[in-house]
């Protein structure tokens, strides 16, 4: 898929960086134009915009955020999500609503198919494996999407990222952001092991992400 960059993209990226005052630390890898799956903690609607905006322009042009269809599918939000951010909108909670195991598997497969198709051979993804926004104090359990996607594309680098303070900038249920300073840390890429089971992999991925938290020191 060719990356068509919307003229608003760099403007919105600059606005997002301005509001979030984001300081970016590449602690475990360098920004590169290779195919990756960035997975991060989730506390605010601004998370994916900030992470996307923090990437260098040429990397950003080939990186697509994964966002919830129910929130981003209407009006201006839909325009921004689809045309500017080139977000991949997915139906969330499909596996939880499913009546039995088979239906859950089928729902997960549909989502993973959609993500793999969106990546193609060139694009990277931004993913929030917790699925829903937390309070910022703890990281919630990971959903299984990351595991199935990693299984499907085992050669793609999985880069953990940790966003701090976004829950204070725009918490759940608020409309106006407070422009405080945030910190975004990218960790060392991980890969799924050939024989690794779902639970073990998700715990390892969660630990790799949580380890990036600054824990009060500066």
């Amino acid at each position: 898929m060719s990356a068509v960059i919307h003229p608003l993209a760099s403007v919105l990226a600059a606005v997002a960086r301005g509001i979030s005052g984001v300081q970016v630390r590449w602690a475990g890898c360098r920004p590169e134009e290779k195919q990756r799956i960035y997975f991060a903690n989730h506390t605010s609607h601004l998370d994916f915009v900030v992470l996307w905006a923090a990437l260098p322009g040429e990397v950003r042009a080939r990186t697509r955020p994964v966002a919830a269809k129910d929130y981003w599918e209407k009006g201006l939000k839909a325009y921004l999500a689809q045309r500017v951010f080139r977000a991949v909108l997915v139906h969330r909670g499909g596996t939880a609503q499913a009546g039995n195991r088979e239906e859950a598997r089928a729902a997960a497969r549909t989502v993973v198919d959609r993500l793999a198709e969106a990546m193609g051979e060139t694009d990277s993804l931004i993913l929030f494996p917790e699925g829903k926004r937390g309070t910022g104090e703890t990281v919630g359990p990971f959903r299984s999407g990351l595991y199935y996607l990693a299984k499907r594309r085992p050669e793609v680098e999985l880069v953990p990222a940790y966003l701090e303070n976004m829950n204070r900038i725009l918490p759940k249920g608020e409309v106006l952001p407070v422009p405080l300073l945030s910190l975004l840390t990218f960790g060392a890429p991980i890969h799924i092991g050939e024989t690794e089971d779902k639970r073990g992999f998700l715990e390892r991925a969660c630990a790799a992400m949580s380890a990036l938290r600054r824990k009060g020191e500066s």
Binding site: G21, Q23, T135, N165, R168, P171, E174, L176, V178, P179, L180, L181, G216, E217, S218
Partner: protein, 334 residues
């Protein structure tokens, strides 16, 4: 000075409200002086870079040169906004207030229930404070934050319904707005004072305050590095010594006295006000250092290369500005 005494252009009355200051010869001399110091500092830095022998010396000199480069940028921005006129300075200091407040609030613990109060602080209270200067409403400018916002903040937090650490949260937000918005706003408020015989030259007064204050910071640092032995409050800041404090403040006072011709002051009055600026600047640096130690950080931010955050650079100005403003207002303004 060959450019004439302060009364040389006494009748040049501002004809428009937002008069640019381009024709002010004495302001041009002040700009020129700062430019000379920057050129000198860059030249010395370049020479030292060539002569540095080991890695440690290289690191020190690179930091020094980064600081000098940042000073070039800061001086350019300040000079440019001063030339644009009052609006330029108000926008600059308004943005500095917001950036400083952002650095401060980021470091202090607030809770979910403070969100709306913070929205008010950033988007209503701080801009309103600068708007009041723009419309020259001194009476409301003086009381809006200490009286109105002071009462509004705890009320708004209480309405959010979270009582955990209530008093600390309210007090910490109030302190931040007082320092970052209220105190700092007194610097550009100098531009609305009407001083007999000084009309149209108010930009010089703001330049004088910032120059003496920031010079005092630099001189205290240099003096402390060269001669500092006895720490004033080792727990708060290991870099603040009695030698640096006395030497730096006296040198800044000497500088301020030597620049009396650009102000409405006599040389003796210039000495007194510069001394006050130096002392208050020291107090500002000390208090803000104590806050940094309390929350366990070295700097408030990293926006200015080699210096840290905005608040690290302007902490002294936040303390010096209101006192300088009221000294000038009480003794010199009509």
């Amino acid at each position: 000075m060959s450019t004439g005494s302060p009364g040389y252009f006494p009748q040049r009355v501002a004809t428009t409200r937002w008069v640019p200051h381009v024709e002010d010869t004495q302001l041009a001399w002040l700009f020129g002086g700062v430019l000379g110091v920057l050129v000198l500092a860059s030249a010395i830095g370049a020479v030292l870079k060539q002569t540095a022998k080991n890695d440690a010396a290289h690191a020190t000199i690179n930091n020094l040169n980064a600081r000098t480069r940042a000073w070039w940028k800061m001086c350019a921005i300040f000079a440019l906004t001063l030339l644009i006129g009052r609006i330029g300075s108000l926008v600059l200091f308004g943005l500095l207030s917001l950036l400083a407040l952002r650095e401060y609030i980021t470091l202090i613990p607030t809770r979910r229930g403070d969100h709306r109060t913070l929205v008010w602080s950033f988007f209503v209270i701080t801009p309103l404070q600068y708007y009041l200067i723009a419309i020259r409403w001194y009476g409301f400018f003086a009381i809006m934050i200490p009286a109105v916002a002071f009462l509004f903040i705890p009320t708004r937090i209480a309405m959010a319904g979270d009582t955990e650490h209530f008093l600390e949260r309210a007090a910490k937000i109030q302190f931040g707005i007082m320092i970052c918005s209220y105190c700092l706003s007194h610097a550009p408020a100098l531009l609305i004072l009407r001083i007999p015989g000084f009309v149209g030259h108010d930009a010089r007064l703001l330049f004088y305050l910032v120059l003496v204050d920031q010079s005092s910071d630099v001189l205290q640092y240099v003096w402390g590095r060269l001669t500092g032995r006895h720490k004033i409050a080792a727990q708060v800041s290991p870099n603040k010594t009695w030698e640096g404090f006395v030497g730096g403040v006296l040198m800044a006072t000497a500088l301020g006295t030597a620049l009396w011709w650009a102000t409405p002051f006599t040389p003796l009055q210039a000495a007194g006000t510069s001394l006050v600026i130096g002392l208050l600047g020291f107090a500002g640096g000390l208090v803000m250092s104590a806050i940094k130690r309390d929350v366990g950080v070295k700097d408030f931010g990293a926006i200015i290369e080699g210096h840290g955050g905005i608040l690290d650079r302007i902490d002294s100005l936040c303390f010096a500005a209101p006192i300088f403003f009221h000294l000038v207002r009480y003794f010199f303004a009509a």
